[in-house]
Amino acid sequence: MKRSIKYIALIACVGLLGACDLKEDRTYDEPTDIRLARALDEYSRALTSAANGWILLVDSNFGVFRHYLSFDENDRVIMLSDLSANYTVKDGTDTTTAPRQSSYQLKALHMPSLIFNTYNYIHMLCDPTYSVMDVPTHYALYSDFEYSILSFDSGVFTLRGTLNKTTAYLRRATKDEADAVFAEHALMNDYTRIEGHTGSTLSIGGREVSVSFLEAFHAAATANRNRFVDLTWQDEAGAEQRVQGHMWIELETAASGSGVPTRIGLIAPVSVGDVLIASFRWNADTGAYDAVGQDGTVYTKPAGNIE
């Protein structure tokens, strides 16, 4: 009996050792550094080769801000921003019309990262210095200027902030958009155009939903308005329900211009009951913005409410 156990143990040991396979089984064909270097090279070529620049949407605790960017091969970036369109910049800079140059860096950190590494308009959202903007917090607007690149698909970079984990999207601008930003000051004018169309009532999934864009930021500084869209309705029990989305305005160009921005996007969809709302679209017939569901369904202002 004792001898059998020894033999079994011996065979088991030999079997275990024989099971060792010296072949490497990699998840990826190439080492991480080679893949990272290739990705950074691809991103760099994409950023610097866009003839009409880029539109960057960055989220913050106060809504979404749009920046127009143009990158060059010497690590320089020129920036315009819609920051001063409805926020008070204390030194009086008009960020929508005065281009500012600084540097940027594509770097391999935990992930390929895009870092705006000297001061530009994007940093004003993150600047804890009270004298920069009229924001009562040392965390500024809880935004980011260092981003991990989560993906680059169909000409759109999806980014995630390093410090505050905010979402940002960077997409190629069209020639019309670049012209509109520089010649027609679209970053500023879009906010002017939306004034007067900041609220309506829509029928969404059988509910009467009150929609309000750009809620007042705080009473003392009415020029500062959060880039929020608020949706409120009453549930079956009569209780008020409210959701809030972080909004941005699609750039108006000479071709698309209709006097009112045609589309208002949300950085992330919001739920009205079981309906997911992804954006808003100007409806000239009703004179109000329709809500557009994640599935493409359009929710319009009820006919009786058309003013």
């Binding site: 040991c13 050792l17 540097s103 590494n117 001061y119 940093h123 804890p128 500024a140």
Partner: protein, 312 residues
């Protein structure tokens, strides 16, 4: 026994068979090893020609979170403030040491012992209860916060220069220790809880600042930095003020007169600088001392800031 032998023979055979000469695999460069490479700008060239090459100091102004605290809300520096700030650092800190040792046998010591890296950050570091404007790591690196504000408030530059003088005092005292007597002057009142000591109370205890109460090393660095930044007259006034305060019996809580303690510290710093580094703290017949040179530089820097403001 036989089984064990058989087992060992088999095992040895397997181990030997396992030996083989494997290729370690494809060779490739580790991305980012050796630091960042940036396209050089005119500012980079100016920094190299005026700071890095002559003084052996790196100036880092492009954002690198690994150089600062990872959790605070901070922003990078504006490129246009880098040059005036570093010019002020040279003018208000390096040049006075250069001039005061000119013609002595210790002429270039400031180059050898200066911190090797300056990091500039645009905003201050808000910790909740305090605003941090400068930090230093072991005499090697100095981080200057609030750089973007330098034209709005001259005190930003003054505080930055004080940080430079403070850190340099540490470096020189680590290379050649300050006199042991310095530690005994106010030995009874050093405290690790210096943050709960007010500046006024610290001065009543014979220190130039509350941070000086932390340890004799910090006390030495603060004493030299305050002497340089605020001048002899300010220090003499402080001595008089504290001696007058101590003259009242109800204020005699320490075993020593704080004014006299400040005087002793001043004298020990002066002797140490002269005997160890050939640095004259005060003016002599033929030459300006370190304090005068720093004070003159500060005046120039204030004028430069005014010019920058007007040009802006």
């Amino acid at each position: 026994m036989k089984t064990i032998k058989l087992f060992l023979t088999l095992a040895a055979g397997l181990f030997l068979a396992a030996c083989s000469e494997d290729n370690i695999g494809e060779q490739y460069e580790i991305l980012g090893l050796g630091g960042d490479t940036e396209a050089q700008t005119e500012l980079d060239r100016w920094l190299y020609d005026n700071i890095t090459s002559p003084y052996n100091m790196e100036v880092k102004y492009r954002w690198d979170r690994s150089e600062v605290d990872l959790t605070y809300t901070l922003v990078p520096v504006k490129e246009e403030v880098v040059r005036p700030i570093m010019s002020a650092v040279v003018k208000g800190w390096i040049k006075p040491y250069e001039k005061v040792t000119e013609g002595t046998n210790n002429e270039a010591f400031v180059y050898k012992l200066s911190p090797k890296k300056f990091m500039l950050v645009g905003s201050a570091k808000y910790t909740g209860s305090t605003i941090v404007t400068g930090e230093a790591e072991g005499g090697r690196k100095v981080v200057i916060f609030r750089a973007n504000d330098y034209t709005k408030d001259p005190e930003v530059l003054i505080s930055m220069l004080k940080t430079c003088h403070h850190e340099f005092a540490h470096t020189i005292s680590q290379a050649q220790r300050y006199p042991e007597e310095f530690e005994k002057v106010t030995a009874e009142s050093y405290t690790t809880k210096w943050t709960s000591v007010s500046t006024v109370q610290a001065r009543h205890n014979g220190y130039v600042s509350n941070y000086a109460c932390k340890s004799p090393g910090e006390d030495f660095a603060e004493t030299l930095a305050f002497l340089c930044m605020y001048g002899r007259e300010w220090y003499e006034d402080l001595i008089t003020q504290e001696s007058d305060w101590y003259a009242k019996p109800e204020n005699q809580k320490t075993s020593y007169d704080p004014g006299a303690a400040l005087r002793t510290k001043q004298s020990l710093v002066e002797t140490y600088l002269k005997s160890t580094w050939n640095v004259e703290l005060y003016d002599s017949h033929s030459k300006k001392g370190l304090i005068t040179l720093v004070q003159e530089a500060i005046e120039e820097i204030r004028a430069d800031i005014e010019d920058a403001k007007n040009n802006h």
